[in-house]
């Protein structure tokens, strides 16, 4: 088998990955961009290329921006592979990718990981029932196939995206029966401190509009205690319980859940990049330098998987990563890199304005803390709140221990869906800080790989390697 050689491999076709790839190819680096989706755009600009002018309002301000990037991208000489995932990375930037059912090896000079974010799980009772989906999944259905749930829809959760979706649904003419707001009490003093950054930011006008419009046009209930989804075989409703024993019930055919988004660090973790705990975002992120380079040399993290900063910061961080990769490849000198980077570094900081306010305003509600005993925490392995709690009481503070003892995180999702909950539970039960629990451990392949495809993988090792050493 021949090994494909490229200057830079970019993983993820969202704003960060696209911007990085455009910049790289523009400056003469051979660039391969892979993404598991069939279309470029990532989460935020998903389907932008396919949708007509009339769908514009569905995307809000991002529409024009997303279209522009994708047009530039389409005109750049980039080896773009759709429906392709990164399976593993070995030392010296050797990457194994899975494309169209075939595992292939790519030798890269540098690697930029731009795999975005994913939604924090909301493990309340009933969250695994049919009829429950995440806000993100609802948004994908809307963007890709213009599918809006019919019947009564209740949204439960917290986070900026929740209000954006409510606004998008409204534009689509869909009705939302109620929004159950799980956002905790706001710390006014902290919010005030960060407010001016927010007011000056690009989020302010649009964001405030979505939020305000959705709040006034929909029934919003603030829930500070327990919320449960009702139903035996599928969703029937939502109940909000109060400490004084009173409760309110809402009938529903669809329940949409959300509790903010987290950096998608599975790949970075599996590569062995050092992780840091973000206090303001309550999540792990890779340690990166000003060029977005991780602790593993030549491996960059750009966009939301390096910390949730939004689509505009993602563009700049992708470009900045590209510049340093170009320097490492000796296509640019350090001076050239610095000159080119200067305005973008400023833009990147500018795009981060307002982030602290948003983070503080929508700080995660970590519903797992109030979940009942029988609530599933790990979906892959069907492990309950009760069983995780029992193990935490035995030996707190170590996620690796809990993984081995409870199997939380050992299923196909590799802990994406349970490690934030397990960490939050551990912190609560044993009264430690979540960072003391440690980052989840991830292993290649970060998404399931057919054994038969692996069996056909041949990079010219002799068959003898399979023989017994004796």
């Amino acid at each position: 088998m021949s090994i494909n050689s490229v200057d830079v491999l970019v993983v993820g076709a969202g704003p960060a990955g696209l911007s990085a790839a455009i910049e790289l190819s523009k400056r003469g680096a051979t660039t391969m961009l892979i993404d598991e989706q069939a279309q470029p755009g990532g989460q935020i600009y998903r389907g932008v290329e396919l949708c007509g002018e009339s769908d514009r309002k569905l995307f809000g301000y991002g529409y024009v921006r997303g279209r522009k990037i994708i047009e530039d991208f389409r005109q750049s000489p980039i080896d773009y592979k759709t429906r392709t995932v990164l399976v593993s990375i070995e030392s010296n930037h050797v990457a194994d990718i899975f494309e169209n059912g075939v595992l292939k090896r790519v030798q890269a000079g540098a690697i930029i990981i731009a795999t975005g974010a994913y939604e924090r799980p909301v493990p309340i009772k009933g969250w695994t029932l049919p009829g429950v989906m995440t806000i993100g999944a609802a948004q994908i259905a809307a963007k890709q196939a213009s599918v809006i749930p019919s019947g009564r829809t209740v949204i439960v959760g917290n986070g900026a995206l929740l209000w954006l979706l409510a606004w998008q649904y409204r534009n689509f003419g869909a009705s939302i029966d109620a929004i159950i707001d799980l956002g905790g009490r706001k710390q006014i003093s902290k919010l005030l401190r960060d407010f001016w950054g927010f007011a000056a930011s690009s989020y302010f006008l649009d964001g405030a509009k979505y939020y305000a419009l959705s709040r006034v046009s929909t029934r919003v209930i603030t829930a500070r205690d327990q919320v449960e989804i009702l139903g035996d075989t599928r969703v029937e409703g939502v109940v909000v319980m109060q400490k004084n024993g009173k409760y309110q019930k809402f009938a529903a055919d669809t329940v949409l859940l959300h509790d903010g988004i987290l950096p998608n660090t599975n790949l970075l973790g599996a590569i062995g990049c050092e992780m840091l705990w973000s206090l303001s975002q309550c999540s792990w992120r890779p340690k990166v330098n000003i060029w977005q380079e991780t602790s593993v040399s030549g491996v960059f993290a750009a966009g939301d998987n390096a910390g949730i900063d939004g689509a505009i910061a993602a563009e700049y961080s992708g470009r900045i990563a590209a510049l340093d990769a170009l320097r490492q490849l000796q296509i640019l000198t350090s001076q050239e890199r610095d000159t080119l980077a200067q305005p973008w570094i400023r833009q990147r900081s500018r795009a981060r304005w307002g982030r602290n306010f948003i983070d503080a305003y929508f700080s995660p509600s970590n519903t797992v803390k109030t979940a009942s005993d029988a609530t599933i925490v790990c979906r892959c392995e069907a492990i309950t709140h009760e069983s995780v709690s029992a193990h935490i009481q035995q030996e707190p503070r170590r996620l690796a221990h809990l993984k081995s003892m409870t199997r939380c995180g050992m299923g196909p999702c590799q802990g994406r869906m349970c490690s934030p909950s397990v960490a939050a539970l551990t912190a609560q039960i044993s009264d430690v800080h979540p960072y003391q629990v440690g980052p989840p451990s991830h292993r290649f392949p970060v998404s399931p790989l057919p054994l038969a495809a692996l069996a056909k993988f041949d990079v010219g090792l002799s068959q003898d390697a399979g023989k017994l050493h004796e």
Partner: protein, 375 residues
């Protein structure tokens, strides 16, 4: 760490360190275990869990037999079943030639008085392992072998030891060992010290470095055996299956997932204290699994990993007293198959420390065998 209150300091909190600590505590010794990471983080917590005598080096068989006795009543030892179950181990022959070699092995074992390995023909093989590929001609079977859960086992040994008073100190590395009259002074990288008259070196893949601190030589190679696991499948195989002519260890768990390994190695990244995978070698493993089990055609790998393990040039461990230092004992170098020996190794070390002689002959494992190389 208090300075003088220990009889024994065990370096390394893997299964062998925990087992030594437990058996020493059962002899009323006051024991401190020090681990640079956490107990079970390395080989002992991430291995394939095979409890196997099948195909073992004949020099280890007496020890393995004694260990199996302990496994069979493991709850009595550690108050936990360790997930141990006995479903047999089968080594599959793909050719007549391989089967002949297995038959020779059985004959050799008979002369030594061992009868646990038995030859099975094509149809018996199919009865015990119905999904095995058509071309397989027979195999070698040990009905009494089994498997356990590695992390759970290491924790069970550790917790039992703690209940008997053993102190565990994790996250600190032993960086210096010096003799002060009759006691050993052990220095850790948090600038603490502890002393005891006896030291047991259970440092696994790092045991060579501990020997280095003691001025003794042991040719420990650090290797990174790899494993991969599939999404759950309907139950189709009970025994652990290996192959006579290729590297394979193949086991289906109760939850339906299938573990594939056998000893192909990735890379040890010493600086980052991690074992890295080599997918081109995992591919060989995948081919072997598919060749032997066509039913795997539709399976999916959900995770793979590697652990850092110690390997000796002759593939048998180092056990027993140091060749140079009084009061120092070794238990390391288990060369990819040390999990089975976990329960017994601690007992043997406790006997060596407390009585000076052992219930199973461990002379083949003496560190003295490397003395010539040291020069």
């Amino acid at each position: 760490m208090s300075n003088t209150n220990y009889d024994v300091i065990v370096v390394g909190g893997g299964l062998h360190g925990c087992s030594a600590a437990l058996h020493l505590a059962m002899q009323r010794a006051r024991v401190l275990v020090i681990d640079k990471d956490f107990s079970g983080q390395h080989a002992s917590g991430v291995n394939a869990g095979g409890v196997r005598r099948l195909g073992r080096d004949t020099r280890e068989l007496a020890l393995a037999d004694a260990s199996l006795k302990l496994w069979n009543s493991i709850s009595e030892l550690v108050d936990d079943d360790c997930g141990f179950s006995v479903n047999g181990h089968m080594k599959v022959a793909e050719t007549e030639f391989e089967l002949e070699a297995l038959k020779k092995r059985v004959a050799e074992l008979k002369t030594m008085g061992y009868h646990h390995e038995v030859i099975v023909d094509r149809s018996e093989l199919r009865q015990i392992v119905p999904e095995v590929a058509r071309h397989c001609v027979g195999g070698l079977f040990v009905a009494g072998d089994g498997a356990a859960m590695p992390y759970q086992t290491t924790q069970a040994f550790r917790q039992k030891a703690e209940r008997l008073g053993v102190v565990f100190k994790e996250g600190v590395q032993v960086v210096g060992i010096a003799k002060n009259k009759k006691t050993w002074r052990v220095t850790t990288n948090d600038s603490n010290e502890a002393s005891a008259p006896t030291i047991v070196n259970c440092a696994g893949a790092w045991a060579g470095e501990i020997c280095g601190l003691l001025g003794e030589f042991a040719p420990v190679e650090q290797v990174a055996p790899m494993l991969m696991i599939t999404a759950a499948m309907d139950h189709f195989v009970s025994p652990v299956v290996s192959a006579a002519g290729r590297t394979l260890s193949f086991k289906q768990f109760e939850n339906g997932t299938v573990l594939i390994g056998g000893g192909l190695t990735g890379y040890v990244d010493k600086a980052r204290n991690r074992a890295e995978l080599n997918f081109s070698k995992l591919a060989i493993n995948a081919r072997t699994a598919l060749d032997l089990f066509p039913i795997m055609e539709q399976s999916k790998i959900v995770r793979s990993w590697a652990g850092i393990e110690a390997r000796m040039p002759d593939d048998i461990p180092v056990m027993g007293a140091s060749s140079t230092n009084e009061g120092v004992f070794h238990s390391f170098g288990y060369s990819l198959h040390g999990f089975q020996l976990g329960p017994i190794s601690g007992q043997i070390i406790a006997e060596a420390v407390c009585k000076g002689n052992t219930s199973v002959d461990i002379s083949p494992f003496s560190i003295n065998r490397f003395v010539d190389q040291a020069r």
